[in-house]
Subunit: 333 residues, 2 copies
């Protein structure tokens, strides 16, 4: 294992400290329990939006804390759920008077711990609503999941729902919007190489020299199947076919196309894949109205990518375009 | 070689097409010769700022085309200089009435081809000024270089000089500013793994399982020395010691600290290294007034990082903070 780290046990704490120092204008970072909180939280009159999960997927979720997106992110150890106490501490740190929305990727530990936190918060008089995202079409049930996994759609969900909370929508409205986004977004990924969790020191799986894994999870958990390396056009077609048939997306749909790097993929390859995806979608008369290309939900240094497609309506488009000021996404300010 | 590509010969053209489609609000992309041009160029009354070089370092330079930064980027093949004709075409596409500034990383092919283009442009009545950046303290002369190489400082140079051009400084003033930035910025990098040029299919060098290379170049060209893997704190100290002693930076200097990923390095490691760098600089009473952390000048999928330190003055700080609207850097708009 070659990584730029000190003691593997301190990776998350040291990276958090660095993140807090680099973005002191946006966030406050707390250790024990680890939290990333919007610098001006709690924001009176606004629904507080919280997400979290294991570390190793940066910039998710800490990179999305700030005006127009998340009020707090709750980072667990690498590829490990945060505790209920951590989530509760985040909740108390950012809850104002309009309630709290949890956006939770569908992994068993995350779902359980956010649920427990919601109960504890309710006992403290804080109203919490939870929406679980499960946009990965690759597999039903998996190593860490009952049901489908939450992956790339999470980034779009956090942006759109965060914008709705920022404009003053109430808890019921942002919850309904979050459910609508979840119902309209689908993803699938591919791995060319594994990632290595610092604590274990060993790659999470092995692939042959000419082998890729379709439908990979963001923790390296198994996907649909291993196949020989294919040209980009064929990889993109395989992923998009699964994504499009699942919802299904149909001709004249307005979409947001998100080509995401898994951490170790050069931007050159991501834009090449984006180009390929545009061509394929054009052939189906599916319109790409908005785009996001880059490494926004990763699996440490894994090489590979995921493709996410969101069917937009006018409100979602407007909320996507709304100002956002976070470490990883910023526009309009 | 595992990459998300089609024919290796088409990688740059396909990625450029994707980049142009994803950022049609910011840039126009042209093929044969390959160019990325600001969508509203030429901008009357403004010095046009152009940079370029081999591809494979994305988001450099195409990701920095837009308001407040570059007017055009000229991408060569992977790790290969653009031609003089390409640079000339970019020059004609963006030159208005205030002259053109070339910002050139110090690599032999780049310097030669930008120089030839400047002569051809002058013959066409376009006034061109050129500033070469050579911020890498690792080695004097190298595989691709007479003298030091241009690396991470290029990103800061393009931002600061682009802001000066945007506020209306004339060619003489932006040239002098660019020279001042070059005189105040120093960098050094480290590689944990090599990158593979698509066309060759073979890693550009090999490293042992427990070996890293200090002072690596952005094309994988040799650095200072190979050493066993060290803890992050020791890597950071090695890089920063070389950087700080070179200028030299001294106590109470105001600086911009830029921790840059080489393409395959997780953000977790970059923020951890940034944290380590902050601590080390604090010990020398060198103040970090501005920061940039992320993969902004890369070497395809290489794992590693570089650290760049720029001594700021008030004008540079103001220009760094000025609005910028590009694919890879955006704030204030």
């Amino acid at each position: 294992m070659k990584k730029i780290i000190n003691d593997p046990a301190d990776v998350v704490a040291e990276a958090l400290a660095g993140f807090g120092a680099a973005h002191a204008d946006l966030v406050r970072v707390q250790q024990d329990p680890a939290l990333i909180v919007r610098v001006d939280a709690p924001v009176a009159g606004k629904v507080a939006v919280i997400s979290g999960g294991g570390s190793g997927h940066e910039p998710l979720h800490g990179g999305y804390v700030g005006a127009g997106m998340l009020d707090a992110a709750v980072p667990g150890p690498v590829f490990t759920s945060p505790t209920a106490d951590q989530v509760l501490a985040a909740t108390k740190a950012v809850a104002a008077d309009a309630g709290v929305l949890y956006l939770v990727k569908n992994y068993t530990g995350d779902v359980l711990n956010f649920e427990t936190a919601a109960e504890l918060a309710a006992a403290d008089g804080i109203e919490v609503s939870t929406v679980v995202i499960d946009d990965d079409v690759a597999v039903t049930d998996s190593t860490y999941t009952a049901g489908r996994r939450g992956v790339g759609g999470t980034v779009l969900l956090e942006k759109i729902v965060g914008a709705a909370a920022a404009r003053g929508d109430n808890l019921e409205a942002v919850t309904a919007l979050a459910q609508r986004v979840v119902s309209q977004v689908r993803s699938m990924g591919v791995a060319l190489s594994p990632s290595t969790v610092p604590h274990s020191g060993e790659p999470s799986f092995t692939l042959g020299d000419n082998e890729i894994e379709l439908g990979i999870g963001i923790h390296g958990e198994p996907g649909r199947k291993r196949v020989p390396l294919m040209p980009a056009d064929q990889i993109v077609e395989t992923l998009l076919t699964a994504v499009v048939e699942d919802l299904p997306f149909t001709a004249s749909d307005q979409t947001l196309l998100f080509v995401n790097g898994m951490g170790g993929t050069p931007e050159l390859e991501l834009y090449l894949a984006y180009n390929s995806a545009r061509r394929w979608l054009a052939g189906k008369n599916i319109e790409v109205a908005r785009s996001l290309v880059g490494s926004y939900i990763t699996s440490l240094e894994m090489q590979g990518m995921s493709i996410t497609l969101l069917r937009l309506d006018d409100e979602m488009t407007q909320l996507w375009d709304a100002p956002v000021h976070t470490a990883a996404l910023r526009w309009g300010v």
